[in-house]
């Protein structure tokens, strides 16, 4: 969308109207396109030759869609229609193909019950008009969440009495312990661990002009601010409650305290700390350090996943490789995109990213100008110690941006999904969020010629600024709350763990009895199928079946479950049948047979672990920007 058209949308919003895609009302797609200047289609459009059809027809040929031209809204801007697809799908396709300067659903204004918060009009990222917006407004038509779904915010603590977060906070904990060299400079509250997660401020008294960030309060507002309370902003997970876990203080926090807080948040025991009576189903980690994923982080993530909690982490704001713990496995790491869907310059990127979401981009860069695509949220206005509660600034340089605020959008969507289907496991939440993601655009209408994001090497580089996202740099796509919530209703196909390899002739029992469905639904049928090497399934329509693997090869098994609502889900797994290795040619050295490959693998693993553990790392800052 061009900036000149933004006021019109805002005006609609101010009138209490909310824009819905026309596709919600009709089967035909209806999209506004702006042809590129100099393009043959633009020439045809300018001349408006052959009525209104020529440019649209040319565009349709290039896009592979039968398009019909409608009225021109400007000399090179036209409404086009197509049958058999939604307006959003058509607009997304045209944007991905890079055929036009922009393509947007032709919106039809409709009165609708939506967030009545006065700042909601500025919360573009929750809505549907901008290409990268997460469409939370559409998801809220299905669910606004549940107070039973707890989301932990591991951060600087919170301002507990912020009026837009009233009733949101569960009893949390302050995990910041005494500094290694004694004292409580990091904690800044005069003591170590205690049950008070209030944020006393994180300004660094040793640095002139240092200000408190109120980072945890800002993250909390994006995640789950009170909504429809005629106050401030709306949150993504409107009904969820927040478990505040204070792990960051002055100049950050120690991994030891962070990991202890993560474990406690998920309901795991931490010696010396009372058990958490409200275990979180989602953990939001909007911080990171420049290091490899430590074993301490990875071990905690594995344990937390086993408890059924989903972990969401910010990729970082360093333009290079993903920070830790976002570079660990078993969590969902979030990179930041601009409103147009291209990667915002400051966002970290790389193969560990699982999804992208709006992180805020100001467009205007000069001081005191409006930061247009900011992420408005709750905060405190105290510069050092707590002052009055309030909201983030609308102008530079303090407009609220950073991957710290993309992550809680994803956490909020996870919470909406779990409200609908609490039976989802962590990996299933993550898989569905990814599966529901929309594709990245092939071009950025505001930045013609923008390069594709480069592959980030192990050592990283500093050349990955604003760029066009790919699935190897920015994850599966753009976060789509509506699609993810829709996928949360699907049943869960689950195949019990199998050995990675067996010997030819083996018979394995395949077990799908742990498959499930959302509350109110049941699994109605199972269907097993086999591809790859030819084998035999004894009971392909039962919850358990035997698989015979007669010969060496790769056997891929697919399980499809269907629930009582007619919804389906699939899981696939591959088993290798491997013939035993021939005995090694003996050349002496007898007696070492028991060592073999297992022992060697163990040694290699130990060497790898040692290398990982001993690598020198430097802790670096992440958010906020």
């Amino acid at each position: 969308m061009t900036l000149t058209r933004l006021p019109a949308l805002l005006a609609l919003s101010l009138l209490g109207l909310h824009a819905l895609p026309a596709a919600a009302q009709a089967e035909s797609a209806r999209v506004i396109v702006k042809y590129r200047n100099g393009d043959a289609m633009a020439v045809a459009a300018s001349a408006q030759v052959q009525g209104v059809s020529a440019a649209a027809s040319q565009l349709g040929v290039r896009a592979g869609v039968a398009l019909r031209g409608k009225r021109f809204v400007a000399p090179t801007t036209q409404v086009v229609v197509a049958d058999g697809m939604s307006s959003r799908a058509l607009a997304d396709q045209l944007m991905r193909q890079g055929l036009v300067e922009y393509a947007e659903p032709d919106l039809k204004a409709q009165a609708m019950a939506t967030a009545g918060d006065p700042m909601y009009n500025n919360q573009w990222y929750l809505q549907s008009a901008q290409f990268a917006a997460i469409r939370a407004d559409q998801a809220w038509d299905v669910t606004t969440g549940s107070s039973g779904v707890v989301v932990a915010v591991l951060d600087t603590g919170v301002r507990p009495n912020h009026p837009d977060l009233t009733g949101k906070f569960l009893p949390g904990y302050d995990f910041i312990s005494e500094d290694p060299n004694g004292g409580f400079a990091t904690a800044n509250d005069g003591d170590g661990r205690d049950p008070d997660p209030a944020d006393p401020g994180d300004w660094d008294a040793s640095v002139a002009g240092s200000r408190s960030s109120w980072h945890g309060t800002r993250v909390s507002g994006v995640l789950a601010a009170q909504t429809n309370n005629s106050l401030g902003v709306a949150g993504v997970a409107q009904q969820s409650r927040i478990l505040p876990v204070r792990v960051l203080g002055v100049v950050g926090g120690y991994v030891s305290d962070i990991v202890a807080g993560m474990r406690w948040a998920a309901g795991l025991p931490v010696p010396g700390v009372p058990d958490n009576a409200n275990p979180a189903r989602v953990l939001n980690l909007s911080f990171g350090g420049q290091s490899e994923c430590s074993q301490t982080y990875q071990s905690a993530i594995n344990d937390i996943n086993a408890r059924g909690a989903t972990i969401v982490a910010a990729a970082g704001n360093f333009t290079g490789p993903v920070l830790s713990p976002g570079n660990c496995s078993g969590l969902l790491t979030v990179a930041g995109v601009r409103h147009t869907g291209s990667k915002v310059g400051y966002s970290s990127l790389g193969p560990q990213v699982g999804i992208s979401a709006p992180a805020g981009n100001c467009v205007n860069l000069a001081n005191n100008q409006e930061c247009i695509y900011r992420i408005d949220t709750t905060t405190n206005v105290g510069t050092t110690s707590p002052g009055a509660d309030g909201y983030t600034s609308s102008t530079n340089p303090n407009g609220n941006v950073g991957t710290s605020f993309a992550a809680p959008q994803v956490s909020g969507v996870a919470a909406l999904m779990l409200a609908l289907n609490p039976n989802l496991q962590a990996a299933e939440v993550i898989a569905r969020i990814k599966a529901g993601a929309r594709g990245f655009p092939a071009s950025d209408p505001q930045q013609p010629g923008l390069p594709v994001c480069p592959t980030v090497g192990a050592t990283g580089s500093s050349t990955e600024g604003q760029c066009l996202c790919t699935t190897s740099t920015c994850g599966a796509g753009l976060l789509d709350a509506s699609a993810a919530v829709g996928l949360a209703r699907n049943p869960m196909a689950r195949i019990a763990a199998l050995p990675a390899s067996v010997t030819p002739g083996a018979v394995l029992t395949l077990d799908a009895t742990s498959s499930g469905a959302m509350p109110g639904a049941t699994v109605q049928s199972y269907a097993w199928s086999l591809s790859g090497t030819a084998g035999t399934l004894t009971s392909p329509a039962q919850s358990t079946t035997n698989l015979a693997l007669p010969t060496a090869g790769s056997y891929t098994v697919t399980l499809t479950v269907t629930d009582s609502n007619g919804r389906t889900d699939q899981q696939q797994t591959t088993v290798q049948a491997v013939s035993p290795a021939p005995p090694p040619a003996s050349g002496g050295g007898g007696g070492g047979g028991a060592f073999g490959w297992v022992g060697l693998a163990g040694l290699l693993g130990a060497a790898y672990a040692a290398r990982r553990s001993s690598r020198s790392v430097t802790a670096q800052a992440l958010p906020p920007r």
Partner: protein, 112 residues
């Protein structure tokens, strides 16, 4: 601080974290300190201050308890020779001790 006093402080630290400050003593001039995360193969080891101290001594360092992370993992301050940059060699030796599952430097994740 004498060895018995160190052990007494370690015992006290587990029993009553508040006494930690009383136990603190600046490391000798020839020593440096490195925050570490230590995981053990059995939770009982973390409840056994003499075992911890002997293990650290064999690695050429000293451990001071800082905070619990899980039943088998805790944060410590490792003291080592000032010539051992970042206590890297001492950490390597500590990793090889029986009953030790993991030793990592405890990094501070910074927020601007």
């Amino acid at each position: 601080m004498t060895q018995p006093a160190r052990i007494a402080c370690l015992v006290a630290a587990f029993a009553l974290p508040g006494v930690l400050s009383a136990c603190r003593a600046a490391p000798p001039a020839a020593e440096i300190e490195q925050p570490v995360i230590l995981a053990v193969t059995s939770p009982a080891h973390l409840q056994d201050p003499p075992w911890l101290q002997q293990t650290a001594t064999r690695a050429g360092g000293r451990l001071r308890f800082r905070a619990a992370i899980s039943p088998d993992t805790a944060a410590f301050v490792l003291s080592c020779s000032a010539t051992d940059t970042g206590c890297g060699q001492t950490i390597a030796r500590l990793r090889s001790q029986p009953g030790v599952r993991l030793v990592e430097p405890d990094q501070k994740v910074r927020v601007p």
